[in-house]
């Protein structure tokens, strides 16, 4: 009975974290969409590329509008849906890094779009999910760099250094966000326990 009660509290706590935190993910995605709009309007080279980008942006906007509307009406969206939406974000950014313009892989400047997504994720989800997500993101980015960068740069000291700076700072986004998340959870739990003790 007690175990059931504790697990219920933890489940409720996790649901509250997602509910309150999802607005951060939503804002991060609005920034991503805005950046995507600038990239498309500024540097799309032909009509096909332009149309595909606009379609992708419309899908992202639709997803985000749906999430934002649910948040504003006080109805949280499914955690799995939120996870899936974030994976779509990562997929879109990775495609940009791999294929957009002549500068791909390590030469692409679009890797910075990963930063707010990783950070927002770390603030909302539990450390285990965040670690897995960060690992997927970093693996996707490193694989893209290995496959889509010219060999002379990729296998040089400069290339290694470049990749290191990016991986370290991207990892720091997840790590620091998780640290703050854990700190806040401990703080809230302590406060709840204190208030329960005071009034029992």
């Amino acid at each position: 009975m007690l175990n059931h009660s504790i697990s219920h509290t933890r489940a409720q706590e996790a649901a509250e974290d997602v509910f309150f935190g999802q607005i951060v993910i939503i804002w991060a995605r609005w920034f991503l969409i805005f950046a995507g709009g600038i990239i498309t309007l500024w540097s799309a080279k032909d009509m096909l590329q332009f149309s595909l980008s606009i379609l992708t942006l419309l899908v992202l906007m639709g997803m985000n509008f749906f999430s934002h509307a649910r948040y504003l009406t006080g109805k949280p969206i499914n955690k799995s849906l939120l996870l899936l939406a974030n994976l779509v974000d990562i997929g879109v950014i990775t495609v940009l890094v791999a294929f957009w313009s002549d500068q791909t892989g390590l030469n692409s400047n679009f890797y910075i779009l990963y930063y707010p997504v990783l950070f927002a994720w770390a603030l909302v989800f539990s450390p285990s999910i965040t670690s897995l997500f960060s690992l997927i993101t970093l693996t996707a980015y490193c694989a893209t760099c290995l496959l889509r960068t010219d060999s002379p740069l990729m296998y040089s000291v400069a290339g290694f250094e470049l990749l290191c700076i990016r991986v370290i700072t991207l990892g720091a986004m997840g790590g620091l966000g998780t640290y703050y998340y854990r700190h806040q959870r401990d703080s809230l739990r302590a406060l709840t326990a204190r208030s329960t003790t005071t009034f029992s």
């Binding site: 409720q12 509250e16 540097s43 950070f119 290191c164 806040q184 005071t198």
Partner: protein, 206 residues
């Protein structure tokens, strides 16, 4: 003394540990990167960079000591260190060629830490200073209009980090105030968000 009285929490003190970890990330990774590539940079530049990094590490040890001894660090000291980080990263960016330098990515962990620790006004002042300084550096060192697009995206992402972090810290503050208000009967105006969410169903929408 009434121990049940709710305490006012200082966001700077709460986020201090995040600032410390972010700075250690900066210090350790910078040292690693400098030592990984000693051939393409002159010895004088390496010496200067290492000296600056060691100074940063020393000032960070001061912050750690304050946390360990549970002493309150002066707000002014934390703001000063934030400015020092901004200056150090910007100087390294300038040394490495401005727009083409990749060291600007260290602005991200620094901004992340300050977005969680600084109050809103101070954070946006800091963000404004960072974005202005970095944009000035880049505008003088960029080559074409494509670089301008990249600069806009970089600035946008820096802003995204600050907005998201600050928003989250604000939400957490309100959640805590709501618990305090419920438990101790404070009439805090900030306690607008309920501590528990009645709208969270067991199985939200599919």
């Amino acid at each position: 003394m009434n121990t049940n009285k709710p305490v006012t929490l200082n966001p700077l003190a709460e986020g201090q540990m995040v600032i410390i970890i972010a700075r250690f990330v900066l210090v350790l990774s910078s040292l690693f990167l400098i030592l990984a590539d000693t051939e393409s940079v002159s010895f004088g530049v390496i010496r200067f960079e290492v000296m600056v990094i060691l100074l940063l590490a020393l000032s960070n040890f001061y912050l750690v000591a304050q946390v360990l001894t549970k002493r309150k660090t002066l707000d002014l000291v934390i703001y000063g260190m934030g400015l020092a980080d901004l200056v150090v990263i910007s100087v390294v960016v300038i040394i490495q060629g401005g727009f083409s330098s990749n060291v600007y990515t260290f602005y991200f962990p620094a901004l992340l830490a300050f977005s969680l620790a600084f109050p809103m006004v101070e954070l946006y002042l800091y963000l404004g200073a960072t974005v202005t300084l970095y944009s000035m550096i880049c505008l003088f060192t960029m080559h074409n209009m494509d670089d301008l697009q990249t600069l806009i995206i970089r600035v946008l992402m820096l802003t995204a980090i600050a907005v998201c972090g600050n928003h989250f810290a604000e939400i957490e503050r309100k959640r805590r105030n709501a618990i305090l208000a419920r438990s101790f009967g404070t009439s805090s105006e900030e306690a607008q968000i309920p501590a528990t969410v009645p709208a969270v169903p067991a199985h939200p929408i599919a």
